[in-house]
């Protein structure tokens, strides 16, 4: 029997769709973990990326650091945070936030840095202050790239939230880890299918969000590049 059969059989049992271990409850948990980690990561990395891109100072250091940072294994960070914190319930946040930082920071930096100098000059010529140029010109123009960074980070966090079940967290990862531990392949396959669907939902949600908030004048350009 194939993976899809296993997944389908598990998903079509109505009992798997209710209660605290049901798909809807695990779905909400996964979304909660992802949202919290993303908010923290965004609060740290968006301002840093914008400032470094705006001032164009320390960009090379940022890129190199981000590359090294990416090589940090998430599973390792997770178990290390768990042990060092004495099994704290927030230990999962550290690897997830760490995972989301580089894509957001690097794309934000590259996006703001890449804004056409002519645009900035024109805005300054119209009497905008440096702050206005940053917030009303540079950030909106960089928005497609910033969203791309946020999307990549969110997808990675959604997917990675599953390994957090390894330290007794909820979410869809619970199915995979429990299924592996009890040799229940149907449970594992069902959990894997749920995560894949959620990752696709996140990807499409960002595409929709980009349609909504990216200024109309930029969309054509974005498609071409």
């Amino acid at each position: 029997m194939s993976f899809f059969n296993f997944a389908w059989q598990w998903l079509t049992v109505s009992g798997h769709w209710s209660g605290s271990n049901g798909v809807p409850a695990r779905f909400i948990e996964t979304i909660e973990y992802t949202a919290l980690a993303m908010v923290i990561a965004a609060v740290i990395s968006l301002p840093l990326g914008v400032i470094i891109g705006h001032t164009n100072k320390g960009g090379q250091i940022l890129i190199s650091l981000a590359n090294i940072w990416r090589s940090l294994p998430t599973l390792g960070l997770l178990v290390l945070a768990f042990i060092l914190s004495g099994g704290a319930s927030w230990a999962w946040l550290i690897p997830l936030v760490a995972l989301a930082l580089p894509p957001i920071m690097v794309t934000t930096y590259e996006g703001v840095l890449g804004v056409d100098a002519g645009l900035k000059d024109a805005a300054a010529g119209m009497g905008m202050t440096s702050r206005q140029v940053l917030l009303q010109v540079e950030v909106p123009v960089a928005l497609p790239l910033i969203l791309l960074g946020l999307r990549t980070a969110s997808i990675q966090v959604v997917a990675t939230a599953s390994i957090a079940a390894y330290i007794s967290l909820g979410g869809f990862g619970r199915y995979i880890i429990d299924g592996l531990a009890t040799n229940n392949y149907g449970l594992v396959a069902g959990g894997a299918a749920c995560i894949v669907v959620l990752a696709l939902i996140v990807q499409f949600a960002y595409t929709g969000l980009a349609r909504l908030i990216v200024p109309a004048g930029l969309r054509q350009q974005t498609r071409q590049s």
């Binding site: 890129i63 290390l80 580089p102 690097v106 894949v196």
Partner: protein, 229 residues
């Protein structure tokens, strides 16, 4: 530290396994990306749908893919390598296309005027010019792949990831720290080797700036730690 020294041979073995599990998929990804990239540049309409499919595959969680593949390839190295090869496509394939597109038209025309056929021009002119951008993509793929292998530890095939599982079960943080440090070191060494290979293959690049590289980096900035877990 003394733990690391008294387990040197096992650590060496795990590091070697980690490198093998990570790098073979990247080579496969490169071997697949080259023909696909050449096709996408020649037939431009192929590129958007191919990139779309690859970025959807890229969104699949590694743990979920490993588990899905167990049904087909069992608990073997292949189970870990197939997802990693798929993820590496997400950074290598666009880099091949961007690299080939960055070849200046006058260079192409000069090669044609010198009597080069399509294939000879591709192999002796266009691909060498694309090397720096392709290697920029390879660097991202290699670093991501090395660190993702450890997730395989959850199904028992994870190179240095074994240290994380074992360290967690024994509540022994030294072992986990050693695992993280070795993975970061392995990534750094691989990255330096790739930069060295680029210098070796593109002696003309040393003088001129890396304008097209920076362009590629901007587009690919988001591809990092592939596919999450």
């Amino acid at each position: 530290m003394s733990w690391a020294f008294s387990n040197l041979s096992e650590l060496g073995h795990l590091t070697g396994q980690n490198a093998y599990l990570a790098l073979v998929p990247v080579l496969i990804g490169l071997a697949v990306s080259l023909p696909l990239g050449v096709l996408s540049v020649r037939y431009g309409w192929l590129y958007p749908p191919m990139l779309g499919v690859i970025s959807i595959l890229y969104a699949l969680p590694a743990l979920a893919l490993f588990v899905a593949l167990i049904a087909y390839t069992g608990l073997t190295d292949t189970t870990v390598m197939i997802p990693l090869a798929i993820y590496s496509l997400a950074s290598i394939f666009p880099s091949v296309v961007d690299g080939l597109r960055a070849v200046p038209d006058p260079v192409r025309q000069a090669a044609t005027a010198m009597g080069f056929g399509t294939w000879r021009r591709l192999i002796t002119v266009e691909l060498p010019i694309a090397i720096p951008v392709v290697i920029a993509g390879l660097r991202i793929a290699v670093v991501s792949s090395i660190s993702l292998v450890s997730v395989g530890g959850l199904i028992g095939i994870g190179g240095l990831g074994y240290l994380f599982i074992d360290g967690e079960q024994r509540d022994f943080s030294t072992e986990i720290v050693v695992g993280i440090v070795l993975i970061v070191l392995l990534s750094l060494v691989s990255d330096v080797i790739l930069v060295f290979i680029r210098r070796l293959l593109t002696p003309w690049q040393r003088a001129t700036g890396a304008a097209e590289l920076r362009q590629f980096r901007r587009r690919s900035a988001s591809f990092g730690h592939a596919g999450g877990m």
